[in-house]
Symmetry: C2
């Protein structure tokens, strides 16, 4: 049974793509089959693992021109496939607006056939528009990266509102997979304050694993590799491997 | 004569809001009258200077319910006014889609009457949708913050494409005000690489002032103050004051 997880937060630059790539790769390293769907027009998940300017993309799924098996690409990493994004996606939000069932397009395509993945992750753009709504409607749960910064806290209310609306109108089974603190620096008071506020608010949902700020993480996309392949001994790689273990533990049958 | 500058980059978390608040405040400190327009539904520019949940907002301008003088708010800082954002803006993109002249709404309102500002800055959301298009159509020029990171370079092509389209179809006089490096850490090779690439690409347009990564900058919004009021002796305050001087020099009559 495939589990579909959207990685979403409308605040920009909080680590959605970094988490999408590195959690996917770390889970694939434990020989679970993972598909990463890049539904952000910026296509950072695609380029971050070395897939550039792909002609066929998730756009073809949303406009129902192609099926899932037609758009899946193999990556350089075992057990880790990608549905790339491309520039056509910039116009998709306007094109989808007048279509019936516009929020359901991705769900229909991802669930139309069992193509044998254990996990599907969806990297979302920094907005609450139709692309993110498609991801939240397709998903079983949503993983929320939260940067250890003041503005990152501000936006959580809007995100939770949107999740409640999606649960009410589009996807009643949507749950919160977990809340992940990113770019954490234990020396900074601000990081500690954000950790406290997020723990008070989300309790058990907050991952025990915290992703530290680590330059090897931000260097790895320029080498088109997840950090566990770019520098397996780095703090960044350790953190994402620990996150993968915690994620799998939460999802293993009791 | 008022100059209108959009602060835009669809990549998330690159320092648009931080630059909008701190450049506005630093220029206001030299007794030029500044208006900051927050067209991002996240409303970070508004909350970052202590204006929360405002009933009247830029949304009322876009749907032509109110005039500019009705939505301008005084801030705690002299020579520095704000047109706040609010949650209604989340739906604005869909509401505007079918209206005639939908990209021109903000331009019509900002230029309808001379209300006596030297500079108007517009803080944009992390997307290239109708809100950012409204800002680029209203503006004389666009200031592009670029985070010293790999993904930040990736998105510049898409942004330049959009600027060219706006110049061709909506606002032929739109120019590039400047390119600003943010969250720079001179110890990191990645920062140096991004500086080199951006300088090769944009030449003279790149500000000599570089904004360093500085924790006082990220702490200041939680105190509802620009960094020059929160900690005037910090590197962050120095950097934004230097940027204000460089900006004013470029805009002073020769
Ligand atoms: N733990 C970390 N340590 C250091 N740098 C990081 C870390 N996580 C992410 N980064 C860097 O911070 C920047 C923002 O991260 P990322 O692009 O993953 O965020 P995002 O939420 O996907 O952004 P967007 O909103 O634009 O989609 C990137 O340049 C990334 O390399
Ligand atoms: N020079 C800096 N040093 C340290 N932190 C910074 C600096 N500039 C910005 N930040 C912090 O980085 C985060 C991202 O900056 P900011 O919110 O201004 O980016 P943005 O481009 O407006 O994001 P969005 O795309 O969500 O609108 C914020 O938490 C901010 O406080
Ligand atoms: Mg991203
Ligand atoms: Mg912002």
């Amino acid at each position: 049974m495939t589990k579909i997880v959207a990685i979403a937060n409308q605040k920009g630059g909080v680590g959605k793509t970094t988490t999408a790539i590195n959690l996917s790769a770390s889970i694939a390293a434990t020989e679970h089959k993972v598909l990463l769907v890049d539904i952000d027009p910026q296509a950072n998940s695609s380029s971050g693992i070395g897939i550039f300017k792909s002609d066929i993309s998730v756009y073809d799924l949303l406009i129902e021109r192609l099926e899932l098996t037609d758009v899946v690409r193999k990556t350089d990493f075992d057990y880790f496939d990608l549905v790339p994004s491309n520039i056509n996606l910039v116009g998709a939000e306007v094109e989808l607006v007048d279509l019936p069932n516009r929020e359901n397009k991705l769900r229909q395509k991802l669930r139309s056939e069992n193509i044998g993945y254990d996990y599907i992750f969806i990297d979302c753009p920094p907005s609450l528009g139709l692309l993110t709504l498609n991801a939240l409607t397709a998903a079983d749960s949503v993983l929320i990266p939260v940067q250890s910064e003041y503005f990152a806290l501000e936006g959580l209310g809007q995100l939770l509102n949107t999740i409640h609306l999606v649960q009410k109108k589009l996807n009643p089974d949507l749950s919160i997979e977990g809340v992940l603190l990113t770019m954490f620096d234990r020396r900074l008071r601000l990081s500690q304050q954000v950790l406290e506020e997020v723990s008070n608010y989300f309790g058990e949902k907050v991952y025990k694993t915290i992703i530290q700020r680590n330059v090897r993480i931000s260097e790895s996309p320029s080498h088109a590799k997840p950090v566990i392949m770019y520098d397996a001994l780095s703090t960044g790689a350790e953190n994402y491997i620990a996150l993968a273990n915690e994620f799998l533990e939460r999802n293993s049958p009791k």
